[in-house]
Every structure is written in structure tokens, then in C-alpha cells.
């Protein structure tokens, strides 16, 4: 069973964006993980629960050689920061097991708050080498 076959075996997961939750795209074939929009639900488990399940399965098998993670969330609440922390913890574990990941933290040039949040996560998960990317 080669890697390319396995990574395309999983289903793509797309969760539509709402006023207070981000668009989530998990594409195993393209090796793409994307979170886009705003995230401030009171309870994050509805949005992030399926993401965590998907990621565990994805990193359990043989994912595509390189996985690109794009996080473009311009506002998130404290519940989401906990979910993001768990998200990065999962990615960190994958990197430690030898998976190739490119993690981009995308922010608006004038948005100091989101830039700072990216720096904080990068400090905390230095093995991920989170790249701060201006929009």
C-alpha cells in the first residue's frame, strides 16, 4: 500500500463558514488543511471536534509527503485559543513522528493582535516552525 494511495483514501472534510465560525477545509489528496474566517463560538467542540478526529486519522495513516496548513483567522475568542492550542499540539506530534508540515499563520498587516498571537503560538510550538505571513 503506497502513501499516495492511502492519503487519497480519506474523505475530504469541508465545514462552511458562519458569522462566528471559520471555514474549515481538510483535503487529504492535496495535503491541505485550511482554517479561514472568524472563530468565536461559546462552545468550539462542534467545529473543532470533527477536525481533531480527522487529523488523528490523517496522521495515523500515511499522509501525502508534504502537508500545508494555512490558518487565516482574523479574530478568535479564548475558547478558540484553547482549540487552536490542541490543534497545534496534534500537528506538533505529527512533526515529531516525521511528517512534513508547512504551517502558515496568515494575518492582516495592520492587525497587530493576530500577528502577536501567531508569534506566541510559534514560540510555544517552535518545532512546527510556524511562518508568519502578511496578507
Amino acid at each position: 500500500m503506497d502513501a499516495a494511495w492511502q492519503c487519497s483514501e480519506m474523505e475530504k472534510l469541508i465545514i462552511a463558514r458562519t458569522q462566528n465560525t471559520p471555514k474549515i477545509l481538510l483535503d487529504p489528496e492535496a495535503g491541505l488543511i485550511e482554517l479561514t474566517g472568524k472563530s468565536y463560538p461559546e462552545n468550539t467542540s462542534e467545529q473543532f471536534g470533527p477536525v481533531f478526529d480527522w487529523l488523528e486519522e490523517y496522521f495515523d495513516g500515511s499522509p501525502c509527503n508534504q502537508t500545508i496548513v494555512n490558518i487565516d483567522i482574523d479574530y478568535f475568542n479564548s475558547s478558540t485559543s484553547r482549540a487552536l492550542y490542541e490543534f497545534f499540539t496534534l500537528l506538533n506530534a505529527a512533526v515529531k513522528r516525521g511528517y512534513g508540515l508547512e504551517v502558515n499563520w496568515i494575518y492582516d498587516e495592520e492587525d497587530f493582535s493576530t500577528e502577536e498571537d501567531g508569534e506566541e503560538f510559534n514560540e510555544e510550538f517552535s518545532e512546527l516552525g510556524i511562518k508568519l505571513v502578511k496578507k
Binding site: 463560538p41 475568542n77 479564548s78 475558547s79 497587530f112 493582535s113
Partner: protein, 185 residues
């Protein structure tokens, strides 16, 4: 009489600098609708982007604290039979003495007062770096007992409330205490 009474109430809010006031059950729908209006008002007033963003963030954290922790609640059934808690709280957003403020008040159990007070006193004494460090510490560990959210909501409020936070408790009866948190931006 009726109009006079309402006008007096309106005037007292005005004198306190209150631009927005809501007293009632808080849900995610209420949060999103009020949030939209607050954003629009801040845009109309041409408020600095980063300040507007802090006001909005503090508003979200404050209201979500009420949604999670207000002990004054009713449980309703939605159409899909899923239970939803309606939690009672009081919210004020305003501007006075060159400061924006977001105030929330709700009932808590007497048993929780000491823990809340200690937590908030600790947060109040920390500077920016101290708040960041505590925030990370909590994210790394498990949620504090009795906390359903990230457990970092108050720290987030303190981080964004550049002009400080104030809090107070007023015992209501043998079981309950009224809790208020005011954040200045």
C-alpha cells in the same frame, strides 16, 4: 408618568456614559446580534481599529462568561429537542472619561466567590508579560475546576483592557452573590 419614568432611566444610563444596555437572557444569537450593532457603532464613530477590536473581544468574552456561568438560568427545549440554557445577565457598553468600557453582571453561587475573587485579584496585579505567561500556563494544563470554557477568558479580558479592570461582589442571600466585572479600554 410612564414616559417620565423611562426617560429618567434613560438619563441615568446616559450620565454613566452607557451607549448600549441589555438586561435579559443571553444566548449565542443575542451575542451575535448585539455584537453586530456594537461593531457598527464603533465604525460610525471612526474608532481606532485596534481599540474597536479590543472592545468587541472584551464584549464577546464577557457575554460568553454569562452564557457559561450565570447561575440564574432556565432550560428551554429547541425545535430539535436539544436543550438550551437561558442564562440571565446584564451588559453595558459605553464611553466615559476617554475610556470605553464593557460591564457585565450576573448571579453566582456564594461558594464560587472566593475562587473568582482570588483569580481576578491575581490577574489584576499582573502586567502584560505576566498575563501572557499565565495564559500559556493555563492553556498547557487542564481547565480549572468548575470551568467549562478555556479558563482563560478573564485573562483575555485583562490583556485587552489596556485601561484596567474592576470587579465587585454583592451578597444577595444565603446562596447567591451578584458579581460584576468592568473592563476599560
Amino acid at each position: 408618568m410612564l414616559a417620565e419614568h423611562m426617560l429618567d432611566f434613560r438619563k441615568s444610563l446616559y450620565n454613566e456614559g452607557v451607549v448600549f444596555c441589555y438586561s435579559g437572557y443571553m444566548t449565542e444569537d443575542v451575542l451575535m446580534s448585539i455584537g453586530k450593532v456594537i461593531k457598527q457603532k464603533l465604525e460610525v464613530d471612526d474608532v481606532d481599529k485596534n481599540i474597536a477590536r479590543s472592545v468587541f473581544s472584551v464584549f464577546v468574552e464577557q457575554v460568553q462568561n454569562v452564557i457559561r456561568y450565570s447561575i440564574e438560568k432556565e432550560t428551554a427545549l429547541r425545535q430539535n429537542e436539544k436543550e438550551i440554557d437561558l442564562r440571565y445577565g446584564l451588559l453595558m457598553v459605553g464611553y466615559k472619561d476617554d475610556k470605553y468600557f464593557v460591564t457585565c453582571g450576573n448571579m453566582v453561587k456564594n461558594d464560587n466567590v472566593d475562587r473568582l475573587r482570588e483569580g481576578l485579584m491575581q490577574i489584576q496585579q499582573l502586567d502584560k508579560d505576566g498575563l501572557k505567561a499565565l495564559y500559556k500556563e493555563i492553556l498547557r494544563g487542564d481547565s480549572p475546576e468548575g470551568s467549562k470554557g478555556a479558563g482563560v477568558g478573564f485573562i483575555d479580558i485583562a490583556k485587552r483592557a489596556k485601561k484596567g479592570i474592576e470587579f465587585d461582589f454583592s451578597q444577595y442571600d444565603d446562596d447567591f452573590t451578584y458579581f460584576t466585572l468592568k473592563a476599560y479600554i
